[in-house]
Symmetry: C2
Subunit: 240 residues, 2 copies
């Protein structure tokens, strides 16, 4: 979410290759140059592909350090960073796609890339499996990737560009909680990061586990509030 | 939903072939023999396919009337009715599938088939695009087809086998309302039908339009209750 009050990133950490192969991997990656840029990348889709994209971005940033080649730590704008991620994704899809499609395995993945590079405002991009991308605006200040539908209605109801980031974080956690109630492919822990405009620091990262008292409070409180709100509305009466 | 308190069916009526070709079609069909059976069929997916399946089921029930051939109005059990629907679906997919797949158009569709045939309890089936099917049980007393994810969390939270059917209807409408807020492919009017066990009548059918005062009350009341419930929970505090 790219809001007037700040940027908020949240990702779960459940991965699966079939229901008998469920694991935990962080889906939030950081690329930082202190006092100059913070880029946050969230991923969904084929884990091998997302990891390869991240590894290549890091490896090339290290290798080209000082040599001036275009990399994630020196591109001059968030737009150029999104292009670079899209290009790297296309490279992996081209490399791994043919053999995967022989086994009817989906090579594709999606990324959310957000953050700020000095000289620009904070920006947020949704990078498609084909490597092209769209950018968030005040009209539509948030993106979701992956198992997005279960948790979308609550965000659509309460979040807009002027929502305080503390409330946006609450909403993101409720959205994840609703999703986890209906779908096993999303699971704790949740990584959250909040970034203040023009801070250029690492942001505040927090990992939310099952034992997190705030998450427990939301989980219990929201479920109870929904049931109470539901009970308070009148039941359907049929016109005979 | 096949509940202890009765059966409840609900379907929207939005169809689309791309965003520039949006129409209204009822997705709820009835097959009835007074005092002997009521079958209710809900559909999702390719409209030409679902309509063909329904037309063939009706045409063959009329044509074979009195001749003893197996049809939707004389099969002895709901299980056999689900087999017949599955077979008819396979027939259409075999007929229309090859030309549609040349144009990369999806021929598939899904059905929910529920109701009661004298001699049996009410039963509910979820018929897959391949023509096979599963049956609801008290553990999982409801099915959704089509654009199901947005509206699933609220059903998962409040509906179980022992929920009164008036509350289940309220929940179904809230579920549709949440879906319509996040997805344009679902739209009013909503057809609802409630059927009481061992009634063998036509059930009570109600069509809910935008002007329906009860739906308006739910729409406004639920949105407001959610915002209040959200505001009552504490905002996130970051541990620095």
């Amino acid at each position: 979410m790219n809001l007037a009050s700040g940027m908020l990133f949240a990702s779960d950490s459940r991965t699966n290759a079939g229901v008998d192969h469920v694991s935990t991997f962080r889906k939030m990656q950081f690329f930082q140059q202190p006092d100059e840029r913070l880029l946050v990348m969230l991923s969904a889709g084929n884990l091998a592909t997302t990891q390869s994209v991240v590894s290549l971005l890091r490896q090339r940033a290290n290798a080209s350090s000082g040599k001036g080649e275009r990399n994630i730590l020196n591109v001059p704008s968030m737009y150029d960073a999104a292009c670079l991620v899209g290009d790297t994704l296309r490279e992996i899809v081209e490399r791994d796609g043919p053999t995967l499609s022989q086994s009817k395995i989906e090579v594709g993945c999606s990324f959310l890339l957000g953050g700020q590079i000095r000289g620009e405002a904070p920006r947020l991009f949704n990078i498609y499996p084909q490597g092209n991308f769209i950018e968030a605006t005040p009209d539509t200040p948030y993106f979701q990737i992956g198992e997005a539908k279960y948790g979308k209605p609550i965000i659509d109801r309460v979040v807009n560009y002027h929502t305080p980031v503390e409330d946006a974080a609450k909403c993101a956690l409720i959205s994840f909680d609703s999703t986890m109630k209906s779908n096993l492919s999303v699971g704790l822990p949740i990584d959250m990061l909040v970034y203040d405009k023009d801070d250029f620091g690492p942001g505040i990262h927090q990992r939310i586990t099952e034992q997190d008292p705030y998450f427990q409070q939301l989980h219990t409180g929201w479920g109870q509030a929904l049931r109470e709100a539901f009970a308070a509305l009148p039941p359907m009466r049929w016109k005979e």
